[in-house]
Each structure stands twice: as structure tokens, then as C-alpha cells.
């Protein structure tokens, strides 16, 4: 893994946490990551959208869990012990993202990010902010705000 200090001085560089969702590799800005914890069974919420797995107890806080594979509409791998919850914060909301496995932390500069193709028919694409190449693999950079459900609107 790249050490975070290497790129700390370049303002356009940002660190990303990458993880596997099914067969694809995604990443998010590490600034929004609060912690990574192992998978525990969630308590399902009634009338929740299918990608909301339920809520878990994060040291006394009720934490909603989003199944990222279901959110992005892709086939997830088998659930196993390596499945983890990435606890992220966006604005005032803290949620857990259920991913298959965390793979790497790396830094990219803004110039290395390219806009995703405009495929408006694929709803899940609005969750992807950019694409980049890391170690010859394509990495999708998530737009966290788009991933998190607007729960108030949905509950109404």
C-alpha cells in the first residue's frame, strides 16, 4: 500500500479507498471513511428499499447498512468472512456500506480522473463520479452523496 504521507502536499491529489463489489472494483474518498468493521447481521427495517440491509449497533449508534452491490444493481459475490462494512460519513449522515472486501488505499491527482460515459439509461451510473486507472485496473470512484438514499424523501 502507498503510505498516505507521500502525496499529502499535492492539493489536487486525493486518497481513495478501494474495495470489491462483486467482480468490480470501486473506491471512495478516504476523507469520508470513518472506520472499517467486520460484517455483523443487520436488523432489517420494514418497508425499506431492497438495498437497505437494515441497521447494526455501532457502539451504541444505530447505523443503517447499504448493500452496495444491490444499490449499484450488480451481482454480488458469495457472502463470506471477508465481507466488511465501510462506515462512511457524508454531511450529517453516517451509514455503513456493505462491500465484498477492501483492497487498497492509493492516491490519484485530479488530472488522473476521467468523467464516466454519459449513459443516462443506467441509473446506477449516477453513483459513479469518475473513472481512473490504478495498477492497470479500472477503478470507479463513487459519489457518496448519490449512493446514500435520501431517506426522508423515501419515507414520505
Amino acid at each position: 500500500m502507498t503510505t498516505p504521507d507521500d502525496n499529502a502536499h499535492d492539493p489536487t491529489r486525493q486518497e481513495l479507498l478501494s474495495f470489491h463489489v462483486g467482480t468490480q472494483e470501486y473506491s471512495i474518498d478516504i476523507i469520508s471513511v470513518r472506520e472499517i468493521r467486520s460484517w455483523t447481521e443487520a436488523t432489517p427495517l420494514p418497508h425499506a428499499p431492497p438495498y437497505v440491509r437494515g441497521v447494526i449497533n455501532l457502539r451504541g449508534t444505530v447505523l443503517p447498512i447499504i448493500d452496495l452491490a444491490k444499490r449499484l444493481g450488480i451481482a454480488a459475490g458469495e457472502k463470506n468472512d471477508r465481507n466488511v462494512i465501510v462506515v462512511v460519513q457524508s454531511g450529517d449522515d453516517t451509514v455503513g456500506l456493505l462491500v465484498d472486501a477492501v483492497s487498497d488505499i492509493f492516491a490519484v491527482s485530479e488530472a488522473e480522473l476521467q468523467a464516466p460515459p454519459d449513459m443516462s439509461s443506467d441509473g446506477s451510473l449516477k453513483c459513479v463520479r469518475a473513472l481512473t486507472i490504478h495498477e492497470e485496473r479500472m477503478l470507479r470512484v463513487l459519489d457518496l452523496a448519490a449512493v446514500l438514499p435520501n431517506v426522508d424523501a423515501e419515507a414520505a
Partner: protein
């Protein structure tokens, strides 16, 4: 906002106002109970005066204007020129109400309906015959520029006032740090001195340290004020009355008494004889200092200021006895106010955090207990007994933390006494309001949310509970109706009671009205209790019957649901001719809930115990089918619809048969009942409530979440919400009511 020091000072002024208003209310209540000694009157006066002082500092002119007049009238009582009759005290109560409103309006930056203010001001003025207007004019001059000399005193100029032959006063005034920290302002005092005559001020820098050593919060400068005046030392001393002990003060008479002017002491004795009857302010004060000490010293309790009008004394004493005996809390509260307890003002967020952490501790301890039990450690081992002690400590900490948020219901009760005053005046009934248990403590959030339902119930008690004065006399009751509001702790809950000694609920009228509105089928026999509960039915009364105040029955459904939202229950008992009592039973805190842990569709859920009226097991012989999808269970001659909890929450599809299932019988606000089917009843326990709305949002049928002993989250059901949403999807018109 938090970084704005001015806003903070302002905020703390308003908090102080609340406290002052509370002590004003206490004082007035004590006066109303016949305790009109000078200390009680002083407490009231000082409260209004301090509010005025602070308001002046913040430029809240409306507040200053009203407080000033209010204070002036109170001063008349303090000086014994006005008798504290019941009517006067009633007016003071109204004045306190208006003061409260203006404080609120000033704090929230709202404008106020001036009609009430002006009416009360008019009545206050009528009491003293327009004196206030004059003083008000003087107050205006307050804004005129005033020259305060900052020139250091040199010895020559200090002698200057003495040289002047006209009579005068020389005042040396050096404020201490406490004077400033208690919100007093030397400028006001100097301005007040100016009213006594022409003043010359010189600044005393003698105690001013070098700039490097200067502590700005501490007063380092003093003033020497010489006044060319005929006023007495005492008049000048009065200006400093409120900073007594907060400054160094010396007042001496200066000037060479000429032949025409008698010296200070000699003027006093003839003054008493000549001017004793005159109502003028100046002469009233003159006789006070000297002639009094002797006669007063003879009496065992010397009231320093009550003497001037001897007639004032005998009034309160006999009237006091019967009333003072009634509320025992009155004495307590006075003591509580007197021996001020040390308190700390803490941000609610910090307490909130502590409450959450303790909730954590409780859950962790439960998890630990479970693991120890699973590990098969014997009960008498060190681990088990240590855990036992840990358990006890956790419980103690939890209780203590919950108590931090607890507040006495006193402020709430004071608000209610205002409601009684206003509503009794509106319907023209004479009402005595008795409170008890003002020191009973409830969670702060509960107190806030109780205000509306209580207001409603107190109004109802005055408007509908009590008969008219004629009606009372005809029934052989005392003309004054009595409304009693009590609070007490009973077996881990708080019980509030609103009681009137009116005619009781007229059950025939209530039943006839409910039938007329189609709320119940005609001619069905009902028990008294059932009829009383009809008052809680939504739509029991319509706008037509609403009087100026809301009618009993109007909005009682709202009252009941807001009490239930607090985890409370409300019940009515009524006896014809004797009166009606509403009892509200509330949990001590909103953070912990008594719940029934159940399993539905493989999930663990918690149902608030308060909403469950009974549990039973379904038997085939008791079940009936209605239409295509509705199943009913027969419970003691009543058909109750069956709701499958797991299905309603979407955990599984409906079962073919519910025979043998466990059922929770839920009583709704509108008296309808529903049978909630669960897979299994696990246990009954207290749970720590965790909000769900902040982290996820509202879920229909779910009130909140909690964390179980195994660390898993369980949802807390909102049965009323679940049943209501089920009711809208199915069609069950009036069936549950008719049942």
C-alpha cells in the same frame, strides 16, 4: 452565535429573567396566601427591579417601560402607602403575566399584542392615581447626556464642595467587582443622584493600578459626588440600596446649615407630626429613619418598612390561616427559594451525550452478563459477584444521570396558575387554584411537552368542570370553585392530577351527544367508565359547542395522544356533584422504556408495555372470519380485528391460520382495540431508547430502536401507528367502535 459574547450575555439575562419571574410568582403566591411581610414584598419588588435593570442594559424599551411602572406600584406597597388587598395582588399577578409575555417577546424578537399590556398598565396606574406617568417622564431624562468627570481628585478640588455653603451631600462611591458582575451599572446610580439636585462628580483614580496590572472586570475607579440638595442622606442611600455590600460607600451631609434651614436631625421630629398624613412621597420617607426604631424595637419581629400605615398590618393575618394551611408545598418552595442551592448550568448536548454513554454502559453490562452466563461460570464465583456489583453500580449511575435532566414541575405549575387566572376571568367564575408537589421532578423534555395538554385540561376544568357561581351556591357548595393540580412520584412513574370540585361529568348528556354524533350506536348499555372515556373520542364535540375556551371533549383526543406519545396514560374519574379528576401517569424519563420483547417473523421487536392491555393465546373457537381478509377474535363479548405484526411489517406473508399464536391486545386512544399476532413473547424488560429518525428516517409503525443484550438492534414498535396504517389499507368502518 456561540462566539458572540453579547448574544451569550443576552441569553443569560433571559435565563435570569425566567428565574426572577419564578421568584416573583412565588412571592405573589405567598402574598396571596396572606404572607405580606416586607421581605416577601421586597422579593417581588427586587425581581421586577432586576428585570428592569437588565432590560435597560440591553435597550429593551418595552420591558423597561412596563417593569418601571409595575415596580413603581409595588413600591407603593413596600412603602405601606398601598394595601396589598386581594384585588391588588390579583392585578400584580396579571402584571407578572404581562411581564412574562414581554420578556418572552423580547427574547424571541416578536412583537406583542399591546392591548393586554395597556389594560394592565391602565389598571396599575389607576391604583396609584397617575403617579407613574410623572416618573416615566423623569425616566426619559435618563437619556439626556450627563457629564461624569474623569478628572482626578486633587486635594484642593476635594475640598471644593465643602466650601460651598448651600446644604448638600458628599458621596464617596467605589464599586467593587461584584457590583459589575451582578449586573449593576454605576451610571444608573449617578443618574439617580442627579435627580436629587445639581451634582458635581469627580473621579477617584487613587486605586487605579498601572495599565499592566489592570483587571478590567474589577472596578478600579470610584467617584466622589457632591450634590447641592436639601435631600437627606437616606434619600441618597436609597439609590445605592441594591448594591449594598457591593461597593464602598460613604455619604455625608455637607454645607453650613444657615439659620433658615434646620439641621438634619432637627427636621425629623416635627416632620412626623406635620406631614404624617400627607400622601406626598418625600414626606413619607422623612419620618422613617428616626422615630421608628423605638416603637418597633418593642415588638418581637421588627418589620422595617411596614410601620408607616398601621392599618396595613391587621389585614392579612386572619385571612391567611385557612389558605396557608392548604398547600403545604408553599412553605417548602419558599424555603427552597431562600436557601438557594448551588447549581451548574450545563449545555443540554453534554447531558445528552452522558445519557447516551450510560445507555451504552447498560447495554455492555447486559452483554457481559450474557457472556458470563453462557460461559457457565458458577453463580458464587468472584466473577459473578463482581458482575453483580457492577450491575448495581450501573443502575445507580443510570438513575443519577437521568436525574440530571430532571427538573421540578414548578415552572409548569406556575404557567397553569396563569391559565386558571385567565380562563376564570374569561368565564366569570371565581376559582381557587391549589398546587401540591411542585418540587416533583420530571425529565425536562417531558415537562416541555406536557405544557399543552395540561393547559387544555386546566382550562377544561375551569370552563366545564366547575359549575357557575350561582350553580355552586344552589348546590350548597362554597362559591369559589377549587381546581387542584398535584404531582407525585408513584412506583417509578410520575402521576399528575388535575381535579375540580365541580358537578362531575353528566354522563347522560355525554352519551346522548356521542349517539347524536354517530360515534356510538344508540341504545347500547355502557358502564360509567366507558361513557367517561367517550370524551377522548376524536370528534366527540364539534365547533358548535366550543365556548371561548375549548370545551371538555374538544381536543381531549389530542390530549390523550400527546400524553401517550410521552409513554403516559390518562384516565378520568368523576363523581356526580363532587367533581372530576384527570390522572396522568408518566414514565420518569423518555430515555428508558418498559417493553415487551417479542418475536415476529423471525425478528425481535419491542412493544411498549404501556400500550398492551393484555396478552392471550388464540383458540380456534374464539376466531371468526369476516369478509375476505379480516379475521376477528372474540374477547369477552367483543370482536377485535387480528393484525399479523410480521406481515404488516413486511417480514413474511400472512399465515393460513393463527390458531395457537400469541396475541398482544392493544388498546388505542379512541378506545378501539386490536389483537397483534406475534410468533412468541420473549420477555419483559427495560430498554434504552435509540432514535431511528436521525440515522435513517421515519418508518411507519416503528417508533425507535434499542440495543439488546446480545448487541443486536431491535426495533421498538409504535402500535398505534402500525394499526392506523393497517386500518387505512383495509376497510373496517366503525366496526371496532361498534364492537
Amino acid at each position: 452565535m456561540p462566539n458572540d459574547p453579547m448574544a451569550e450575555i443576552r441569553a443569560s439575562f433571559f435565563i435570569e429573567c425566567e428565574e426572577l419571574l419564578e421568584s416573583l410568582q412565588d412571592g405573589l403566591t405567598a402574598m396571596d396566601d396572606g404572607d405580606t411581610d416586607s421581605e416577601t414584598i421586597n422579593v417581588c419588588f427586587r425581581a421586577v427591579h432586576s428585570i428592569k435593570g437588565g432590560a435597560g442594559a440591553f435597550g429593551l424599551e418595552d420591558l423597561v417601560r412596563f417593569a418601571h411602572r409595575f415596580e413603581t406600584v409595588m413600591d407603593e406597597i413596600r412603602n405601606g402607602r398601598l394595601e396589598p388587598t386581594r384585588d391588588t395582588i390579583a392585578l400584580f399577578f396579571r402584571g407578572a403575566d404581562v411581564l412574562y409575555d414581554i420578556v418572552r417577546a423580547s427574547r424571541d424578537g416578536e412583537s406583542l399584542d399591546t392591548a393586554t399590556t395597556e389594560a394592565v398598565l391602565g389598571d396599575l396606574e389607576a391604583l396609584v392615581g397617575g403617579v407613574i406617568e410623572e416618573e416615566e417622564a423623569e425616566e426619559e431624562i435618563d437619556f439626556a447626556p450627563m457629564t461624569l468627570s474623569l478628572d482626578p481628585i486633587d486635594d484642593d478640588s476635594a475640598d471644593a464642595p465643602v466650601e460651598a455653603t448651600p446644604p448638600g451631600l458628599l458621596i464617596r462611591f467605589h464599586p467593587a467587582a461584584e457590583l459589575f458582575s451582578s449586573g449593576n451599572e454605576p451610571r444608573h446610580m449617578l443618574a439617580a443622584l442627579r435627580d436629587l439636585g445639581e451634582i458635581t462628580t469627580t473621579c477617584d483614580f487613587s486605586m487605579l493600578p498601572a495599565l499592566a496590572d489592570l483587571v478590567p472586570e474589577e472596578g478600579s475607579i470610584g467617584w466622589e459626588v457632591s450634590i447641592a440638595t436639601n435631600a437627606k442622606k437616606e434619600e441618597a442611600a436609597e439609590v445605592f440600596e441594591f448594591v449594598d455590600g457591593l461597593c464602598e460607600l460613604s455619604i455625608e451631609a455637607t454645607g453650613t446649615p444657615s439659620a433658615g434651614l434646620p439641621d438634619l436631625d432637627s427636621i425629623v421630629i416635627p416632620g412626623t407630626v406635620d406631614d404624617g398624613e400627607a400622601p406626598e412621597a418625600a414626606s413619607g420617607e422623612e419620618p422613617e429613619p428616626d422615630p421608628e426604631p423605638e416603637p418597633v424595637a418593642a415588638t418581637p419581629t421588627p418589620p422595617p418598612e411596614a410601620a408607616p400605615t398601621p392599618a396595613a398590618k391587621p389585614v392579612p393575618a386572619p385571612a391567611a390561616k385557612p389558605q396557608a394551611a392548604a398547600p403545604a408545598g408553599g412553605k417548602d418552595s419558599k424555603q427552597a427559594a431562600g436557601g438557594a442551592k448551588a447549581t451548574v448550568r450545563v449545555d443540554l448536548d453534554r447531558i445528552e451525550r452522558l445519557v447516551n454513554l450510560v445507555g451504552e454502559l447498560v447495554i455492555n453490562q447486559a452483554m457481559l452478563s450474557q457472556s458470563v452466563a453462557e460461559a457457565g461460570i458458577p453463580a458464587n464465583s468472584a466473577v459473578s459477584s463482581g458482575l453483580e456489583e457492577f450491575l448495581q453500580l450501573t443502575r445507580d449511575i443510570q438513575e443519577s444521570v437521568m436525574m440530571i435532566r430532571a427538573q421540578p414541575v414548578k415552572s409548569l405549575f406556575q404557567r397553569m396558575s396563569r391559565i386558571v387566572r385567565e380562563s376564570s376571568a374569561m368565564v366569570g367564575k371565581s376559582v381557587r387554584f391549589i398546587t401540591d408537589g411542585e418540587q416533583t421532578e420530571i425529565d425536562k423534555t417531558v415537562i416541555e411537552r406536557l405544557a399543552d395538554p395540561l393547559t387544555h385540561m386546566v382550562r377544561n376544568a375551569v370552563d366545564h368542570g366547575l359549575e357557575t357561581t350561582e350553580g355552586r351556591i344552589a348546590a350548597g357548595k362554597p362559591a369559589d370553585g377549587v381546581v387542584t393540580l398535584t404531582a407525585a412520584h408513584k412506583s417509578g412513574r410520575v402521576v399528575l392530577e388535575i381535579k375540580d370540585d365541580g358537578g362531575g361529568i353528566n354522563r347522560e348528556v355525554v352519551k346522548a351527544k356521542a349517539e347524536e354524533k354517530g360515534l356510538i350506536p344508540p341504545g347500547v348499555p355502557m358502564s360509567d367508565q366507558e361513557i367517561d372515556n367517550l370524551l377522548f373520542l376524536p370528534g366527540f364535540s364539534t365547533a358548535k359547542e366550543v365556548s371561548d375556551l375549548s370545551g371538555r371533549g374538544v381536543g381531549m383526543d389530542v390530549v390523550r395522544s400527546s400524553i401517550q406519545a410521552l409513554g403516559g396514560r390518562v384516565t378520568i374519574t368523576s363523581e356526580p356533584g363532587i367533581g372530576t379528576t384527570f390522572s396522568i401517569s408518566l414514565p420518569l424519563t423518555l430515555a428508558v422504556l418498559d417493553g415487551m420483547v417479542v418475536e415476529a417473523g423471525g425478528e425481535i421487536l419491542v412493544v411498549p408495555l404501556g400500550s398492551i392491555s393484555e396478552t392471550l393465546t388464540l383458540q380456534a373457537s374464539d376466531m371468526e372470519q369476516l369478509g375476505a381478509g379480516t379475521q376477528l377474535v372474540r374477547i369477552r363479548e367483543e370482536f377485535v380485528p387480528i393484525l399479523d405484526m410480521a406481515e404488516k411489517l413486511g417480514f413474511r406473508s400472512p399465515l393460513a391460520s393463527y390458531e395457537g399464536s400469541s396475541v398482544l391486545l392493544i388498546a388505542m386512544e379512541d378506545n378501539t382495540r386490536s389483537a397483534l399476532v406475534v410468533d412468541r413473547i420473549v420477555e419483559q424488560r427495560q430498554v434504552v431508547i435509540k432514535g431511528l429518525q436521525e440515522s435513517y428516517g421515519r418508518i411507519p409503525g416503528i417508533a425507535a430502536a434499542t440495543i439488546l443484550g446480545n448487541g443486536r438492534i431491535a426495533l421498538i414498535l409504535d402500535p398505534a401507528d402500525l394499526i392506523a396504517s393497517a386500518g387505512s389499507s383495509r376497510t373496517m368502518p366503525a366496526l371496532d367502535l361498534a364492537g
